[in-house]
């Protein structure tokens, strides 16, 4: 009779164990996987930065500025420099291409140096951009585009050596 009790106990326990496992023999969970795929970003320079022709001051100093947004050329300072009209000034303009809707940032050096052709004299140019960040038009899955421009300013003094000055600067765009 004692052994019978053992058997009863065992049977009941086994039944419980089996039903407990039958309810949840396994369990699952779902994680998401995600990736955003963008087409390469491109940057094309459309127009160079040009200050045009400038007459240096005989006295004092001046600053010539090409506005990044408007492209307007202005002269400031205490000197008597003047702007000549025989060359068309312009801001540098750029077109960005890439994934629609994607945010990007623009990296423009704060300054660069122009050197006189045939000489070694230099003019430092401070640069400014119309925007340092933006978003391409449209939405992801299609081509987007955006534009920005770069202006700058340079100092003129009575000792600035006359001549043609040129230099280059690199502008970079990248997805955020």
């Amino acid at each position: 009779m004692r052994s019978l009790k053992w058997v009863i106990g065992a049977s009941a326990a086994l039944a419980m164990a089996q039903s407990a496992q039958a309810q949840t023999p396994s369990a699952s969970a779902t994680a998401s996987g995600a990736a955003v795929v963008l087409q390469p970003i491109t940057l094309v320079k459309n127009t160079d930065l040009a200050f045009g022709s400038l007459v240096r001051p005989s006295l004092g100093s001046n600053t010539v500025t090409i506005d990044a947004t408007s492209g307007n050329r202005t002269l400031t300072g205490t000197g008597d420099a003047s702007l000549a009209g025989n060359q068309t000034p312009s801001r540098a303009t750029y077109s960005v291409g890439g994934e629609g809707g994607a945010a990007f940032s623009v990296t423009v050096p704060s300054s660069f140096v122009m050197t006189r052709q045939g000489g070694s004299e230099t003019l430092p140019v401070a640069l400014s951009a119309s925007a340092v960040a933006g978003a391409l038009s449209g939405s992801i899955g299609s081509n987007g585009s955006a534009n920005f421009s770069v202006g700058g300013s340079l100092p003129l003094s009575s000792t600035t050596v006359a001549g043609d000055y040129t230099g280059t600067f690199d502008v970079t765009v990248g997805y955020n």
Binding site: S3, L4, W6, V7, I8, G9, A10, S11, A12, A13, L14, A15, M16, A17, A20, Q21, Q23, T24, P25, S26, A27, S28, A29, T30, A31, S32, G33, A34, A35, V36, V37, L38, Q39, P40, I41, E99, I140, G141, G174, Y175, N176
Partner: protein, 181 residues
């Protein structure tokens, strides 16, 4: 209500036990006047097993290659991403993460976790097939029986990125299952 069912179950079990005992007795009754034998009963009762996704698998933002095929891979643990082949680049590290699944159940119990070898991420009609890579998928839940134990499986993955891969935001489901052995 549960008690009543239990009592009924016990009664049925008792009945079955009695039959077993009687038939056991019957086989030996011819040889001796009486005999008894003791069987050992045992049962292991475990709490339900559960799995929770504690982090998702993220590859972040990628710029597809202009030449060649790049393989984008995220390790099974942590949040490191590698790009091999082609000239694809990662736009930034945001959103890069391995998936992690927390299995919970009876402490000390042996369990196994099933991770699919691949799963799909889609963007519209476009599909990226992700080949998974995981940490060890079999082992014992921490602790010992009588307490809740846990076991974590990390899952990473990789997929190819080509020049003609359609750009877009891809997403998909990674379903992982755990069970007691």
């Amino acid at each position: 209500m549960e008690e009543k069912i239990m009592k009924t179950a016990l009664k049925i079990a008792a009945g079955l036990g009695a039959v077993s005992a009687l038939s056991g007795l019957a086989s030996t009754a011819y040889a001796q006047a009486s005999a008894s034998a003791t069987a050992t009963g045992s049962a292991t009762i475990v709490q339900s097993i559960s799995v929770t996704a504690s982090s998702n698998l993220g590859f972040g933002t990628l710029v597809k290659p202009t030449t060649g095929t790049s393989t984008i891979a995220v390790g099974a643990t942590g949040s490191s991403r590698s790009i091999t082949g082609g000239n694809a680049v990662g736009a930034n590290g945001a959103g890069v993460s391995s998936a992690a699944f927390l299995v919970q159940g009876e402490g000390g119990s042996a369990i196994s976790v099933t991770v699919p070898s691949t799963f799909n991420m889609t963007s519209g009609t476009n599909t990226l097939v992700v080949t998974t890579a995981s940490t060890t998928t079999a082992g014992n839940l921490s602790g010992s029986i009588g307490a809740q134990g846990s076991f974590t499986v990390g899952v990473g993955g990789s997929f190819p990125l080509q020049t003609n891969t359609a750009s877009g935001a891809y997403s998909g489901n990674l379903v992982v299952t755990a069970q007691y052995n």
